[in-house]
Subunit: 161 residues, 4 copies
């Protein structure tokens, strides 16, 4: 796979505010902090949140009828090409929280997802993040020109369009 991504100095993930549909709902994915998520500081290690962001994204797709494993079997992969996270407050062992995700934008085969990890009552914010995925033809190892029609339809559904 070769991506068109520029080097990071121009890193701000492109995002035109007016394309941003603020009305779509968040998908909630509950998480619990287990020992293997923590580091020497007794808090969740910063890389662990990447796992949860992925789990929430795949569970969200599943909730609208897209089985990610099936997508891969059909020859379509969705690798992450950009990622950004901000850590607001640490999660600690035994805590429970909600990873909220939603697809923000879809431009051709490029999808941008937003994630917020919050306390269950919504009063605490632990992490915010964004991730950009592109759809790749697994056999050719190249970015697809367009999404498979069934996938495109499901993604429109997820965004309430």
């Amino acid at each position: 796979m070769t991506t068109d991504a520029q080097e990071l100095p121009t890193m701000a993930i492109a995002r035109s505010p007016d394309l941003h549909a603020t009305t779509e709902p968040w998908f909630d994915y509950p998480i619990t902090v287990y020992p293997h998520h923590t580091d020497y500081a007794g808090i969740v290690w910063h890389g662990t949140y990447i796992n949860w962001m992925e789990e929430a994204r795949v569970a969200c797709l599943n909730s609208i009828g897209i089985d990610f494993a099936d997508l891969v079997k059909l020859g379509c992969d969705l690798p992450v090409v950009e990622l950004a996270t901000r850590y607001h407050k640490p999660l600690r062992m035994g805590m429970q929280a909600i990873a909220k995700v939603r697809m923000e934008e879809m431009q051709g085969v490029r999808m941008e997802w937003e994630c917020r990890i919050e306390s269950r009552d919504g009063t605490e914010l632990y992490m915010t993040g964004r991730v950009v995925l592109v759809s790749v033809d697994r056999e050719k190892g190249k970015i697809m020109r367009q999404l498979p029609p069934a996938v495109a339809a499901a993604f429109k559904k997820i965004r309430g369009i």
Copy 2:
């Protein structure tokens, strides 16, 4: 710990180009891709790069006489408060590469590091990333007002100031 980080919509990691010292050298940390680094697609899973960025950073500190474990014992922690990565080309099982890191900026207790993962001959670019750390007083759980003097001196050394 409570950080001042704003939510991600204002996410571009602040970075004034003229504060950027382009002369400091990169620290090279060699990496090899083992099976546990890969995912179903046969390439390195995107979160794995976070591990390598951390390893390279800690090894770089060590190379200038800062033992991170000692720093923690002395009550100073350096949690990641912002992270951004861009994936250019995938690394595959068995490949060897270099994670290059350098500290870009230090503003008070806030340090920004840059990372590039390249082929050993420098002709291929796999990932670029940035990470912002702040120094935290472990006992108080709060961001420090200033770095411990010994640490500040070592960090100046790393940046060739």
Copy 3:
């Protein structure tokens, strides 16, 4: 911490069959395979199962009123001193399964847990494992002579004694 564990050549985890209470129930912890759990072979990487075994154990303790994070705060840690797993059939991306755990034996401060990862309908067996934990006094860094009374009582409850 120093443990009394002998080297592995005498590795068979000691277990006298007649001390084995077959009547205690299993605790069921549902799992789903996400991309970060897999490796290049498209199946779950063998080390990932260790995470699930831990999650199931901590969730089981929680179900009988033992909050592991509280236990640690009270100065009691439960490090793993022995681990054994056998892989029967691979789990693949997107699959759901049940990690079943139960405490098999408790001899002083040494606890042995058994784990089975099965399909939800119980017809497929993916992994079997055992883990031995000891309770350690976190401050002294030494194995405890006996469990704190409240913990011992809860553990007896979990084993239906």
Copy 4:
């Protein structure tokens, strides 16, 4: 893949002492503990050792001319079917150690490896482990009847036969 592995109650990894060649040398793989290897207790999380055991094994194969990635491309995989570890003394952040590995036995397509993680001066023992691998035909998803000749020859070389 379907393995013939029995359930764990008969778990002791079969190993007839007289087949044990004590003369083969250990392969040394140096390791350093980074923050992401640790857990809330400030020591290396027990599952992290599985990563190091794998890295040492693959590096050992590489040292005798077997590129594991090539082996996989040729259609031969070596999944772990049994694993056992014993934790003697914890490794802590910043520590350096040696993961020593050697192949103990090869019976048909079944290989047993031993691992010891020790201090660099050999005076401290942190972990001992064993792992059993079988060679699997990736296309058929079945255990091979015999190793590919080139692989068998290299494995004999590793064992000094």
